[in-house]
Symmetry: C2
């Protein structure tokens, strides 16, 4: 009979502090579920003397990672320090020392998840990472267990809170990107260098993890086509609204037959879509399964306590497995070889805003170009551009292949009557105009 279970923490920042608090505040509940106490025994920190808003005995803090990784009494390593290469080494060392690992590190899992899971299995250790995607939402568990019997064909995620906050404020209050970004930074929702969020890289990492699990196929970060939100204008948002759509940064993963595509890009979502009303810093993942149909999982995507909830729930999973003696048996290797769709296999509707010279025959020239490529129009708005000789044309296409659509885009730029292609986005669902 195990008398108590000890965890070692790597990192005591935002998430680490939350983990310590939950283990302390919910000790009764944890004990009830696993039948013995849980203790945080050692914590790797950068600075032992730093003032912290969490109560922890100072003798538990160390600046030497070996005190945590090699402590024979520590059963589980909780990695909440972030970083990639060095952190990978720490986790590999922990696993090879037969210590289970719980991590919240999406960057690491997106890049080295497959390697780490293999080493974990070889050492009969658990490696859980629920917190790495969509913080407080138990989405990985839902994919792996709740929908285990189904065949997932589509996942769409609002998996970055910063960009969702920015787009919500821009849409609702008609404010400019730079203005809202500054507010998000002031509120702590955006980093001082927001590149990874606003350029879509953070979301792409999470989609790598989701697609790998949902499609049971090893998807790499390089497989994800990525476009961020920095070029979205107030005009784009106004037209979205007018057409019955809401602009969101959507991580999109779609399977047709044995081939998949994964992207992160600003998308016009029909207002009636469940994701369209996910606002502010909230995250949500929409999953379509052949048998179950539409499901959606909604919650806080980041933050100290929500992310820590996912970490400690994973810790509980490890501890339950310890009590049953079945650690290292739950990960399932990908079932399918990776097969990516080619651009002529990816179909979507698109929104396109262009400025053309306002002259006789301009529209006919455009129409001819699109119809040559078999790209047809679902909706069109044409308006004069103030104080200019230009007309603004907004088009929502019917379903077209990415190959055809990109050729149309290319040729548009070459047309003499086209002043500029102002913007172009994926469209999901039917708007209302």
């Amino acid at each position: 009979m195990v008398k108590s279970i000890s965890a070692g923490l790597l990192g005591l920042g935002t998430v680490g502090s939350g983990v310590v608090k939950i283990i302390e505040n919910h000790q009764d509940k944890l004990m009830h579920q696993i039948g013995c106490p849980v203790e945080v025994k050692k914590v790797l920190v950068k600075n032992q003397d730093k003032k912290r808003d969490v109560k922890i005995d100072s003798y538990k803090l160390t600046t030497n990672v070996e005190d945590v990784l090699f402590d024979p009494e520590i059963d589980v390593i909780i990695e909440v320090m972030g970083g990639i290469e060095q952190t990978r080494d720490y986790i590999l060392t922990a696993l090879r020392n037969k210590k289970h690992v719980v991590t919240a590190n999406k960057d690491l899992m997106a890049l080295y998840g497959s390697e780490l899971l293999t080493v974990a299995a070889e050492n009969e250790c658990d490696l859980f990472y629920e917190a790495s995607v969509a913080g407080g939402i138990p989405i990985l568990r839902s994919l792996v267990e709740g929908l285990a019997s189904d065949r997932v064909t589509k996942m769409m995620g609002i998996v970055n809170g910063t960009t969702n906050f920015i787009l919500t404020k821009m849409s609702k209050d008609g404010r400019a990107y730079e203005d809202v970004l500054a507010e998000a930074q002031a509120l702590g929702y955006a980093e001082s260098d927001p590149t990874s969020d606003v350029e879509g890289l953070d979301a792409a990492r999470k989609m790598t993890i989701l697609a790998t699990l949902g499609f049971s196929m090893k998807i790499d970060l390089d497989d994800v086509r990525v476009k961020g939100i920095t070029e979205i204008t107030e005009e784009d948002l106004q037209y979205s609204k007018q057409l019955g759509y809401t602009m969101k940064l959507i991580g999109y993963a779609h399977r047709t037959g044995d081939h998949v595509e994964v992207s992160v890009q600003p998308t016009l979502l029909a207002d009636s879509h469940p994701l369209a009303s996910v606002n502010d810093e909230y995250n949500a993942v929409y999953v379509y399964g052949e048998a179950v149909g539409e499901t959606m999982f909604y919650g806080p995507g980041a933050g100290s306590m929500p992310t820590a909830t996912a970490v400690v729930s994973d810790l509980l999973g490890v501890m339950k497995n310890m009590r049953l003696g079945v650690n290292g048996r739950s990960a399932v290797a990908p079932q399918y070889p990776k097969q990516l769709k080619l651009p002529d296999q990816m179909f979507s509707k698109y929104f396109l805003r262009i400025h053309v010279k306002d002259q006789v025959g301009a529209f006919a020239t455009l129409t001819a170009l699109f119809s040559e490529r078999g790209v047809s129009f679902e909706k069109i708005i044409q308006l004069p551009v103030k104080d200019s000789e230009l007309a603004e044309i907004v088009i929502v296409t019917h379903q077209a292949s990415l190959k055809d659509y990109e050729e149309v885009l290319q040729q548009l730029n070459d047309l003499e009557i086209v002043k500029s292609v102002k913007s172009s986005y994926r469209v999901e669902g039917d708007g209302s105009l």
Copy 2:
């Protein structure tokens, strides 16, 4: 090494047919996860010769339950026949014969869940019932595992698709209850006798199961205060809309300290609440945890394939446990003794619509009555009632205890100026007027 796993089905109706289809269609995925084939070996049916829309060898069908329950080769019994007393006997027999059980039966679990789980544990058998609440949404798993480390303080569920369909159509199209009910019956969303749905009993059963798990406290069906949707009028829905609310039949489970309350009742939800945009026959469960904050789980609440997905995912759980030799170890007995709130411990805002005689001093009399009981007004609308000497008064109160509010209601009925109390509902969140 297990060579194959055999399941026996009790029932081959809507859900049972879905289970057979998923096991056949997704055999590759199931095998990949558990490493051996799964077979449906015997099926209890009422009529062996009935034409069915599912392919199954006729020799597998039987009208004798013992052929299923006592087949030594059957490892898992899947109960999708419905019913209560006799079905309970079957499941008890199965468990005592060391057969694991997966059930989709909310009626049974709401009434006998506690007994059945105890017998399952005594026999080292799994008893899983994800499909009993909110069909295709893996909500029980999310509560038990994903949010295992958190303390859930509030759950609100749209857990009955029939009533959500009816209320959505009434709200959006301004149609009358009877009219929409007839459509729902024609579409197969409502039974010919819709009582259990429209009076809230079906939702109450599901809330019993959710509250028991979420609060780790054995909640009985009798503990749930229940009010259905049959008295909701078009006027109520119009005022809701005007005040920035959406009317939903909400299963409400709330914990304050160690005391809980559980109810099912029509509720005015602020339009901004995530549940407010859950429409048509869809279900969703909103869970508030101390650490995680707001989460919501959305999906189809019923239907052959969605419900069957939950059943087969449970079956997979049983099979994984079989391979690991850890069946019958995952259920956790309630941690807390049942403590229900008294009416003076239940707080809410309320919507109230009354007809009063349109005479001098009427409003002052009303105001005095409310303020005596400490129930204050957040919003008031007063309008004359057409072709009468009456005025219609609509009130949204601030937070008040149920005790105070019910006394106000009682005394209103006794007031000479009050013609009638037309309607009264719980209110959740802030509207927009």
